[in-house]
């Protein structure tokens, strides 16, 4: 039955409408739009394996949030945690360190929270302000000038000089979810421009039950962004808020009786570009997160044991000062930089009748250098080195010095591009795993905990012709000192392990408006266990016919087994149609997880798996002015 359904879908997908390929002015303007995409200016091949999601792609798939784009990722793919936040998982793995993925809005790192992760907000980041997205894998490039990671997701906001106007968008689904956003961007003089964006949305999710307790995950979210550019000065402000039901919560037997998570993240970022590619950046980040979880079966709270009412308020303040400069000659590009960050964390916890209250401060000093040398016009060598100095103000935590080292080679042979990287990096330990003022709650800390240290060996080949693009990538990742949590010993470093991942993809562009992509991926652990789908793939088709745009995607993930629960193969079909009533007024309809056979995640303590994405039908209206 599943095979028959899949064949039907594939047949629908590969039926494309070929556009007239005339060289008239309409065609020239459309070609100019595609070829002038801002990603062609911002993307950097030397920073790793890069995948681009253009404005055109995102508009045609009627993407609302970053989670909609993450659905197209291969390695890692998207899942959701027991408290309804976004989670990344590599094939076969249970989870991946949250600090391995960093998310930037323009040049601002928005992952700098107490948990060293943007996971609490990243899935709910809305995209109408975003021009394009670059995803760098096997990266750890110091050129991003920030804290270590192996995956970097860069979101670039729209350029006001290309907007000179605004847009209003209203969407809703059959379950009562709503999404309203609007932006305006303009140049006021040739050297002053601004872009302002706002969004509010409410997501209604399917409700599940366990032992009579409802498992809810509705959420209310808001995003604000404002950017002003004056000559060589940029000032940006960002605000993200997400309030969500507890979903499964944190109880031993998954019997949530109440609670919520409420996170607010704001930042202000100043950039001054001087002559000769010298740049100064300064920023302040404020993170405020309140989590309350209630569960009759008990929630683990470190030395306080199991409690029924668990509350944590976390407040982060991060002050950053970044300086960098690039020296360029005909065949060489030398990038040097450094930053100082002061991080201040306050945690208040109430666990039934017990409470904890602690502060932690540290300074992070970083110096980095990256050299890109063109041995020939078709051969580039890359050498990166970064030194990080962690200085904790709490005497009990030992200061740490860490480093990142990276070597790369890019070779172009006619239509073929080969890339190889050797990267030695580390994943930072969240402050909450190191320090809790002696109470060892809510988690048993370990002040001697070492950072996890991945070493990546990556090889990629890309073949690009006029209308075709093929990619093959393989990475071998060795992880020293992986961090584990043991309810008796707390955070501990585990034994060295390794992971291998493969990705292959092929894209055929029929013309400017019609393209087909097929990809597949596989990941294998050292112990060959499969705690999540070990392989999967997508078929993605973009079509246009007259005033209609179509987007279809089938996301396949293989069967797997975890906590003794067998999960069948998943087939998540997303389909959208957009009608251009005029150039500026569009109507759309989008179906998500149409077959209701999308990916299901297994959770500890729950006897059945739960869908990461619900079956939904969205209606969408957009007006540009």
């Amino acid at each position: 039955m599943i095979i028959k359904t899949s064949k039907t879908i594939i047949a629908v997908f590969v039926t494309t409408s070929l556009y007239a390929n005339s060289m008239d002015i309409d065609y020239l303007l459309e070609s100019y739009k595609v070829e002038s995409d801002l990603s062609k200016i911002t993307k950097s091949e030397s920073n790793g394996f890069v995948d681009i999601f253009t404005r055109e792609d995102m508009e045609r798939m009627q993407a609302r949030t970053l989670a909609d784009i993450m659905k197209l990722f291969t390695v890692p793919y998207i899942s959701r945690s027991n408290i309804n936040s976004t989670m990344f998982v590599k094939p076969s793995q249970k989870s991946m360190p949250t600090s391995a993925v960093r998310i930037f809005v323009n040049d601002h790192d928005i992952t700098a929270s107490v948990y060293q992760s943007g996971a609490l907000i990243c899935g709910s980041i809305t995209l109408d302000a975003i021009d394009h997205i670059e995803v760098y894998r096997s990266s750890a490039s110091v050129e991003f000038g920030n804290e270590p990671s192996s995956i970097v997701i860069k979101l670039y906001t729209k350029d006001p000089s290309r907007e000179e106007g605004g847009k209003v968008r209203v969407s809703g689904d059959g379950d009562g979810s709503s999404y309203i956003s609007g932006y305006i961007g303009q140049t006021l003089q040739s050297d002053i421009s601004y872009f302002v964006y706002g969004n509010t949305n409410q997501m209604k999710r399917d409700v599940y039950y366990n032992q009579g307790y409802p498992i809810k995950s509705d959420s209310t979210n808001a995003n604000l962004y404002a950017g002003i550019n004056y000559k060589s000065w940029d000032v940006e402000f960002g605000y993200f808020q997400t309030k969500t039901d507890p979903f499964l919560g944190m109880g031993k037997d998954v019997t949530p009786s109440g609670g919520s998570t409420d996170t607010r993240y704001s930042y202000i970022h100043l950039t001054k570009k001087f002559a000769n590619e010298f740049r100064l950046q300064a920023s302040i980040d404020l993170v405020d997160s309140q989590a309350n979880m209630q569960d009759m079966s008990g929630i683990y709270a470190g030395d306080f044991g199991f409690v029924q009412d668990y509350s944590m308020d976390v407040a982060d303040k991060i002050y950053s000062l970044i300086l960098d400069k690039t020296f360029k000659t005909y065949s060489n590009s030398l990038y040097i930089g450094g930053f100082v960050k002061h991080k201040h964390t306050e945690v208040k916890g109430d666990f039934d009748t017990n409470s904890t209250d602690f502060r932690a401060h540290y300074n992070l000093y970083s110096l980095y250098i990256e050299d890109k040398y063109n041995f020939t016009p078709t051969t580039m060598g890359i050498l990166s080195l970064k030194r990080d100095y962690y200085r904790y103000e709490e005497d009990e935590i030992d200061d740490k010095n860490e480093y990142i080292f990276r070597l790369g080679l890019i070779k172009n042979i006619a239509n073929l591009q080969l890339k190889t990287f050797y990267t030695r990096t580390y994943y930072t330990s969240p402050i909450i795993s190191l320090y809790s003022d002696g109470t060892n709650a809510p988690l048993i800390t370990n002040r001697k905990l070492k950072s996890a240290q991945p070493t990546l060996y990556s090889l990629g080949a890309r073949y690009k012709e006029k209308n075709q693009l093929a990619n093959f990538r393989v990475s071998y990742i060795e992880l020293s000192n992986p961090i584990k949590y043991d309810t008796n010993a707390g955070f501990i470093n585990g034994d060295k392990t390794f992971f291998i991942q493969y990705e292959v993809s092929y894209t055929y562009k029929f013309d400017l408006k019609n393209k087909l992509t097929v990809d597949a991926y596989h990941g294998r652990r050292k112990d060959a266990m499969e705690y999540s789908p070990p392989y999967g793939g997508h078929i993605i088709v973009y079509n246009s016919y007259k005033k209609f745009d179509f987007f279809n995607m089938l996301d396949y993930r293989a069967p797997y087994s975890d906590y003794g629960i067998d999960v069948e193969a998943s087939y998540d079909w997303t389909s959208s149609v957009r009608y251009h009533y005029t150039k500026d007024l569009l109507f759309g309809i989008k179906g998500e997880n149409i077959l209701d056979k999308g990916y299901k995640q297994v959770y500890k303590g729950l006897s059945y798996p739960i869908s990461v994405f619900d079956r939904k039908v969205w209606f969408n209206v957009e007006y540009q002015f």
């Binding site: 060289m23 008239d24 002015i25 020239l28 303007l29 070609s31 100019y32 739009k33 595609v34 070829e35 002038s36 062609k40 404005r55 021009d131 729209k158 000089s161 290309r162 907007e163 000179e164 106007g165 847009k167 140049t187 003089q189 040739s190 006029k466 500026d584 540009q624």
Partner: protein, 126 residues
């Protein structure tokens, strides 16, 4: 697929041929020096250094050009808005897409009849 620069060249070639159908050489002056190589590479176009020698003034960042004998073409949204009284047309980014417009009354003033393929780009701009 051609590069953005080659396509831009094709767009300007189409515009200039439409505005000056009978001229074998169109003399172009631009307020953006970095664009001169692009215009110079178009067959049948000569870049001139003096405005007075030009058939058309290509404006990228001049907001208040005085009325002149030469045709004025705006290459930015704000440039077109600020030179509405003079510009014969504009090629600029707006709403995230490249736009091409020709101003009806300015075409009429100069007695220009655009080829059929470009007539859908004629607008009344006051």
């Amino acid at each position: 697929m051609s590069s953005a620069l080659e396509i831009e060249k094709g767009i300007y070639k189409t515009i200039l041929e439409a505005l000056f159908p009978s001229k074998s050489i169109v003399k172009v002056w631009s307020d953006e020096v970095s664009k001169n190589p692009l215009f110079a590479s178009i067959e049948g176009v000569r870049v001139v250094q003096n405005k007075k020698d030009a058939d058309i003034l290509m404006l990228f960042h001049t907001y208040d050009i005085q009325k002149s004998d030469q045709a004025v073409f705006a290459n930015g949204y704000l440039v077109l808005q600020r030179n509405k009284g003079n510009a014969v047309g504009g090629f600029y980014w707006q709403k995230g897409r490249p736009n091409l417009v020709f101003v009806k009354n300015k075409l009429q003033e100069r007695g220009i009849t655009l080829p059929k393929k470009l007539q859908s780009y004629i607008e009344d701009i006051e």
